[in-house]
């Protein structure tokens, strides 16, 4: 534990030095070469990548994995039920490999669910967590990482180095993909943005943040890779549902309800696009 704490502190120190460093390099850099087309990957991104590699050798996400595993294996619900009864799509209690096979259709609820939605569903059903409480704080902040985020991190880690294989067999799975594809392209709101405004072309960025072209298989993987992610600024785990939520904020849309069909559809679209690629597990995000 002590070692862990030390490591987290080191991570925090790196984060601040990264931020300062990034600022300095932004200020000190020589003027752009006669407004030539800027390099695809920003300098700041490259530096962040270096720090990320160092950090991932001892990944802070592991702390949350361990906590999530503990909840998954040891918690009992009010009726004596446990997560051993939770079917993530590969059979009751099977965690290994389940994460990369979602979103998928679940016959017991008659719906397609993404991993986060399914895990929360099980925690409510088998461990007696209150849906209202979870909805009150769905995402982590500096004060609190909710239990379901830890459990999702654990489940995700159990698919480390496996190939993404979201199914497209059930009509509802096909429907989710197709609706997600349309949501991705739908421009509205005061700035006329859709997801594609920021993620529809190769090699673009906002300020120094590289924007993946999420319509392409080799970049759609970024909807998956490193999520859930340990956010260096702040020091807590954030999930795919958080990422979608914050992108809709930047899109100037109203807020999607947590674990809604729209988000599942978007995740289905991006995950299926990324099918066949290897998921490296929970990671680190700036």
């Amino acid at each position: 534990m002590k070692q862990r704490l030390g490591m987290l502190l080191a991570a925090a120190a790196l984060t601040t030095s990264f931020a300062v460093h990034a600022q300095q390099s932004a200020k000190k850099a020589p003027p752009a070469a006669k407004a030539a087309a800027p390099a695809n990957k920003s300098e700041v991104s490259k530096e962040f990548e270096k720090f990320r590699e160092v950090l991932e050798e001892d990944n802070p996400a592991e702390l949350y994995e361990a906590k999530g595993e503990d909840i998954w294996k040891n918690k009992k619900g009010p009726n004596g039920t446990s997560m051993a009864q939770c079917d993530l799509g590969l059979g009751a209690g099977v965690v290994k490999g389940a994460y990369v096979h979602m979103p998928r259709y679940f016959a017991d609820v008659g719906q397609v669910m993404d991993a986060e939605r399914r895990v929360v569903h099980c925690m409510i059903k088998y461990l007696g967590y209150s849906e209202a409480d979870i909805r009150k704080q769905p995402f982590s902040n500096v004060n609190k990482t909710p239990d379901h985020v830890s459990v999702i991190t654990y489940v995700a880690a159990q698919s480390r180095n496996m190939k993404i294989a979201a199914p497209q067999k059930h009509p509802k799975e096909i429907e989710a993909y197709n609706i997600g594809k349309e949501i991705f392209a739908y421009r509205a709101g005061p700035y006329d943005f859709s997801c594609a405004s920021c993620h529809g072309e190769d090699g673009k960025r906002i300020r120094t943040q590289d924007l993946p072209n999420l319509r392409k298989p080799d970049e759609a993987i970024r909807a998956y890779q490193g999520w859930p992610g340990y956010r260096m600024t702040g020091g807590f785990m954030l999930t795919q549902q958080w990422r979608m939520n914050d992108c809709f904020r930047q899109q100037r849309f109203p807020e999607p309800s947590y674990l809604s069909d729209s988000i599942t559809a978007l995740l289905a679209y991006m995950t299926v696009t990324a099918n066949g690629q290897t998921y490296k597990g929970p990671g680190i995000k700036r």
Partner: protein, 204 residues
Amino acid sequence: MNRKIIAGLAATLACSAVLADEIRNYRAEAVAMMKRDFKAKGIATTDRLHEDGVQAICNRSGDNPPKDIAARLEKDQLESVKYPADGKLMGDWKAGEKLAQSGRGMTWSDKAGVPGGGNCYNCHQISPTEMSFGTIGPSLYQFGKTRGNTPDMQKYVYGKIWNAKAYNLCSQMPRFGHVNALNEKQIKDLVALLLDPQSPVNSK
């Protein structure tokens, strides 16, 4: 003869029934789903999920509308640009630079009544000293130097910032004046940032 027509009609109908079943309007389903799932938060109200005319055309054509329709709608958009009554289109480039830096505005975490920024650096290279710039839009470095700052050019830049869709219907650039994200004075300051010979944008 009659029978043939009827048989033909029946076949066509049967065929279109199959088609209707298979070719679903996922776009409409997606919009209905979002209208169900999204909730107002702060200033970001749910009416934002409705398309206006320009958005509707761009959404239905994959941002590639037929030329004649695009030209007609661009003309409408251009006609709604409000140019300053005093005829002055260039303000203060220093204020413009501050605005260009700010990425605030119109999100659910922005407060009502607090003036937003231009978000320009999110998408454009502008001043040579600011290296943290996005690339969704073209570089605007040396814009005034290469394009000049004639009254016509000032009018174009003012109009472009007021309503980017007046010149390019499905542009990824927001319509800042049109949606009240920026006011007249702010747009003047941004015109100066791009066109004033004193602005760092046009230094060599």
